[in-house]
């Protein structure tokens, strides 16, 4: 019996293939955007885990130089081994040349934890190549492929299972590649240690123990980025659900006479509901699989940009190629099922409660119910209240997202009511009979179109919000870059001795030479970089301080205080005047805070003399040069001739800005792409709603045609109607989008990245978006309108016969 019922019900789809396509495509698109984003996240997470697991660093403690010094001496390794400590040396560093950059991990193949090495390193045939110059560098196949042909690297060999973006070489080879002869980054403490060994302090007083790198290190830094992506994916999914909901709702309405007949013929209600639920599951599975395939394509297209963003913003290396992971495709299928369940829930519930002899005509669709609008309005008000509460009391990124979610859903729910009011206002202003009908009829279309319009609202507000954020960011960031990079040229010497010679040579030739010296260390439980600044007017003139006094720079020059970047200030919840312990035990008072966009790390700036006094071993190879911009090319040539400096150790201001901006352009490319996809989904929702409505609308249009309007004119009015609704929706979307932008800039960004951005308005962008929305609505309405214009009069006349 159920089989018979199912085939009768499925026959509906054979007669309405377009509706079926809408349903499947809507669900598939929703699933695609969601699972595409999840695929990217899963890939990144896997990359972080692999990177953290390099050489077992996620499990093993290590010995590092105390007091935040960058290197430790190779001799210490020898003395520790002699004393019985089971340790293995590591040298890590970034090798770069001609714009290509790769992480080098130098290791000792005989002491390194065996399980963490690619098996082939110890192959007898290869080990000699690995140890003797020019050496051999192992990397993940894609890393090796990307680096093939790069001059200056040892011969490359591919090894499966390695983290992307890094090369393993022998430690001696790494020392010469990284110009760090005789130095190590740290020593891994191996798991098997002799029962008794001398105290660390007795052999190597300059070292301290550090806990295994936490797996979550990269993951924590990048977490907010992925959260952002997830939020976008969820938004697209929600927009897609609007389509599915309306398609399923329509299919249920249209089949009501059939439900009635089936029940009258003796099919129990429970069986009917079970059969229909089975049908929904079937459709969801099909659409889910299609969506996952689409999602894979989206993710594969976006992943290179995401990988570049993560590298630029967080220094996290993510594989640029995608692998199929069960956690995301199963998740995607689950989302498709859950989405279909949400979308069908209401319809199934209504069916469950439908009396046997209820009118068989589809009614719920076309009827404008003021009470329903009021109910939605109350729900919207409640959610708006939640949003306000989240804005006032919310904490951190979760609070931000609650605020965002409540705001968007509240706006979507309120939309039909607001539109109804606007249309009523239009009707009151209308003069002619046709105008009056136009407004009244548009009002009556609202219930049928409201889901699509809500989807459009979400897409438009997201567009305005994200667009405002991006544009505000770009404006602020370029200004800030101009301020932060006043120096015309940046040079890095190869060693301290060369640095000294450079200093002497440059002094008479330029306006000023500003050291960029830094040490790394831990402050208040987080990693920071500590810089020193020279006492030079460049800084007071250009450095953008968020907080500070007139004498901040003098205090720094006297070595009596420190300034920190906004990130550290917010993270550690500091106030001016607070004293902060520095690595090594010194204490300085906070005298200023500066903006430092796009930097995930905390930063501290001291006076230069203060820095060198506290950390005498600081790396002194980098300098910024103030000089006449016109003299820069000449100076570069001279430096090359005089010192043989490779071109990658000199970088001019323009290039630095270019690189910094590029990172952000790529970030925004990803959000931009998701934005466009969301808009496309909303446009599609509008199209399908208009198409389904167009067939149900004939009874409303036919009388007007009969009373003396051409079909063509009616079609034109239909077009205008769709565009009017889109335009009104845009009017609502602008304020919602601006609130969204504010939340993104002032709440989410602060929670996620640690910096707050000023908001700028770009009305020209709204105009452009408005045109886009009108075009989308026009396109969505074009086909139904064209069909109306060409409808045979006999079809219109049939409406009169069908009416009762």
């Amino acid at each position: 019996m159920r089989r018979v019922a199912l085939s009768a019900l499925l026959a509906h789809w054979r007669r309405h293939p377009l509706q079926l396509a809408t349903l499947l495509l809507g669900l598939a698109l929703a699933t695609a955007l969601w699972s595409g984003v999840q695929a990217i996240n899963a890939e990144a997470r896997a990359s972080y885990a692999r990177a953290a697991g390099v050489l077992g660093q996620d499990r093993l403690e290590s010995l590092v130089p105390a007091r935040g010094l960058p290197h430790l001496d190779q001799d210490i390794f020898v003395s520790l081994r002699r004393a019985g400590w089971q340790v293995s040396p590591l040298l890590e560093g970034q090798w770069s040349r001609a714009g290509i950059s790769v992480q080098i991990v130098g290791l000792d193949p005989f002491t390194a934890p065996r399980s963490a090495l690619p098996g082939m390193i110890l192959d007898e045939t290869r080990i000699t190549d690995f140890l003797a110059p020019p050496g051999l560098a192992y990397g993940a196949p894609e890393t090796v492929a990307a680096l093939t042909g790069v001059v200056g690297l040892p011969p490359l060999a591919a090894a499966e299972g390695m983290a992307p973006g890094l090369l393993f070489t022998d430690i001696g080879i790494a020392q010469s590649l990284l110009r760090a002869e005789g130095r190590l980054s740290r020593l891994l403490i191996l798991p098997d240690q002799p029962r008794s060994r001398p105290e660390l302090a007795a052999i190597a007083p300059g070292l301290e123990r550090r806990a295994p790198i936490e797996q979550a290190d990269s993951a924590q830094l990048t977490g907010s980025f992925h959260l952002n992506l997830t939020a976008f994916g969820l938004l697209s999914f929600a927009v897609g659900l609007f389509i599915v909901h309306s398609a399923i709702g329509l299919a249920f309405e249209q089949r009501r006479p059939m439900f009635r007949t089936l029940r009258a013929l003796g099919l129990p209600l429970r069986d009917l509901v079970v059969v229909l639920a089975g049908e929904v599951v079937l459709l969801a599975l099909v659409a889910g699989l299609v969506g996952i395939a689409l999602g894979y394509l989206i993710a594969a297209a976006l992943l290179p940009d995401v990988a570049a963003t993560l590298r630029g913003l967080y220094g996290a290396t993510v594989s640029g190629s995608l692998s199929l992971r069960p956690e995301w495709w199963l998740g995607g299928l689950g989302m498709a099922l859950a989405g279909a369940a949400i979308a069908a829930g209401q319809s199934l519930w209504r069916l469950w409660r439908l009396p046997l002899l209820a009118p068989a005509q589809p009614t719920a669709w076309a009827r404008a119910s003021t009470r329903a609008l009021a109910r939605q309005g109350i729900a919207a008000g409640g959610l708006a209240l939640v949003a306000v509460l989240a804005a006032v009391h919310g904490q951190g990124i979760a609070g931000g997202f609650i605020l965002l979610g409540a705001l968007l859903i509240s706006a979507a729910l309120a939309l039909p009511g607001i539109l109804a009011l606007m249309l009523a206002g239009g009707a009151r202003l209308a003069r002619g009979a046709l105008a009056q009908w136009f407004w009244a009829d548009t009002r009556q279309q609202l219930p049928g179109l409201s889901l699509a319009l809500m989807a459009l609202l979400l897409a438009l507000s997201a567009n305005i919000g994200v667009g405002t954020m991006v544009a505000s960011f770009r404006l602020t960031f370029t200004d800030w870059l101009d301020q932060r990079l006043p120096s015309e040229l940046y040079v890095t010497a190869r060693d301290q001795e060369e640095a000294r010679r450079l200093r002497d040579w440059l002094a008479p030739r330029i306006d000023a030479l500003l050291p960029i010296w830094k040490v790394e260390g831990t402050i208040l439980g987080g990693p920071v970089e500590i810089y020193g600044v020279a006492d030079h007017r460049t800084y007071p003139d250009n450095w953008p301080l968020i907080l500070g006094e007139a004498d901040t720079w003098q205090v720094l020059a006297r070595g009596q205080g420190m300034i920190v970047n906004e990130q550290l200030w917010r993270r550690a919840d500091l106030a001016l005047g607070d004293t902060v312990p520095l690595p090594g035990g010194a204490v300085r008072a906070l005298v200023g805070v500066y903006a430092d966009y796009g930097n995930p790390k905390g930063q501290v700036i001291l006076g230069l003399d203060d820095l060198t006094a506290l950390y005498p071993d600081v790396d002194r190879r980098r300098y910024a040069i103030r000089t006449d911009p016109a003299a820069v090319p000449e100076l570069k040539t001279a430096l090359t001739e005089e010192f043989g400096l490779p071109s990658d150790s000199m970088i001019d201001q323009g290039r630095v800005k270019e690189i910094s901006l590029m990172v952000f352009e790529r970030t925004f490319l990803v959000t931009g792409a998701l934005n466009v996809l969301t808009m496309a989904v909303a446009g599609f929702a509008m199209f399908t709603s208009l198409l389904t409505l167009s067939t149900m609308r004939l009874p409303q249009l036919a009388p007007v045609w009969a009373l003396g309007l051409t079909r063509r004119r009616l079609a034109r009015l239909e077009l205008i109607r769709a565009m009017l609704l889109a335009g009104l929706t845009l009017l609502v979307a602008v304020p919602v989008g601006l609130i969204l932008a504010w939340v993104l800039l002032a709440v989410i960004n602060v929670a996620a990245f640690g910096w707050k951005l000023p908001m700028h308005l770009f009305p020209a962008d709204w105009l452009w978006l408005g045109l886009l929305a009108l075009a989308a609505a026009g396109l969505a309405a074009a086909w139904p309108a064209w069909r109306l214009a060409r409808l045979a009069p006999s079809d219109l006349l049939k409406v009169f016969a069908d009416e009762r």
Binding site: A433, A706, G708, T710, R711, R713, A801, E803
Partner: protein, 218 residues
């Protein structure tokens, strides 16, 4: 001459097969003349009226309404004719669902630029529609909807009134009052009336009576 139909043929396509409905209908109507069109259900009376109103085109033959040859007219001309010249009262009322009774009543008159609130008010009163002004069509009974449809057609003072069973849903007394109203208007303005009716009594009150059988007039 108000209306001249010559040898009009029309067939409907349903389910792939053609059904010839009108097989050579000829009829003419002078100003001030009233004609009753009778015939069995399904004989093609509504089809004939729709053709005269310019809603559809005949397969063959000629229809001239107030000097306008419908076969040659384009869509816009036909629309203008429906708006200003013809007052068609549909068998199924065909009110505009999104407009109130008041707006429905005045709709055609306003479309054709002949809005006359006094006349509309009088029509509403004579059709017994007072008190229903602010309702929507779905809130009316069948007979009430029919009276609104009649009012709507008469409000524009059309030259040719085409009425498709205008009293089908009305009780005898109301039906008589409605017919009185139409006849008065015809007498007053020199319009023509072509009315479909199943009631011999009402048909008897009109000037002439034609019967549609086998696709021809007798």
């Amino acid at each position: 001459m108000l209306l001249n139909i010559e040898n009009v043929e029309k067939s409907h396509v349903s389910g792939g097969s053609r059904v010839a409905v009108l097989r050579g209908v000829s009829l003419s109507l002078e100003a001030g003349e009233t004609v009753a069109l009778t015939g069995e259900s399904g004989s093609g009376k509504s089809t004939c009226l729709h053709l005269c109103a310019g809603l559809d085109r005949p397969d063959a033959g000629r229809i001239v309404v107030v000097g306008c040859d419908l076969a040659r007219a384009d869509d816009a001309t036909l629309a203008g004719l429906r708006r200003g010249t013809v007052g068609l009262i549909f068998q199924q009322f065909n009110l505009i669902p999104s407009l109130t009774v008041r707006a429905n009543l005045a709709f055609q008159a306003r479309l054709s630029g002949r809005d006359d609130p006094d006349w509309c008010g009088e029509l509403a009163m004579r059709l017994g529609l007072e008190g229903l002004h602010d309702r929507y069509p779905e809130q009316l009974s069948g007979g009430q909807q029919q009276r609104v449809a009649i009012g709507r057609a008469l409000a524009a003072r059309p030259a040719l009134i085409l009425a498709d069973e205008p009293t089908g849903n009305l009780d005898e007394a109301t039906g008589d009052a409605v017919l009185d109203l139409m006849l008065e208007l015809v007498a007053e303005s020199g319009a023509g009336l072509l009315m479909v009716t199943h009631s011999p009594r009402l048909a008897g009150r009109l000037g002439r009576r034609v019967r549609l059988t086998g696709g021809r007039l007798a």
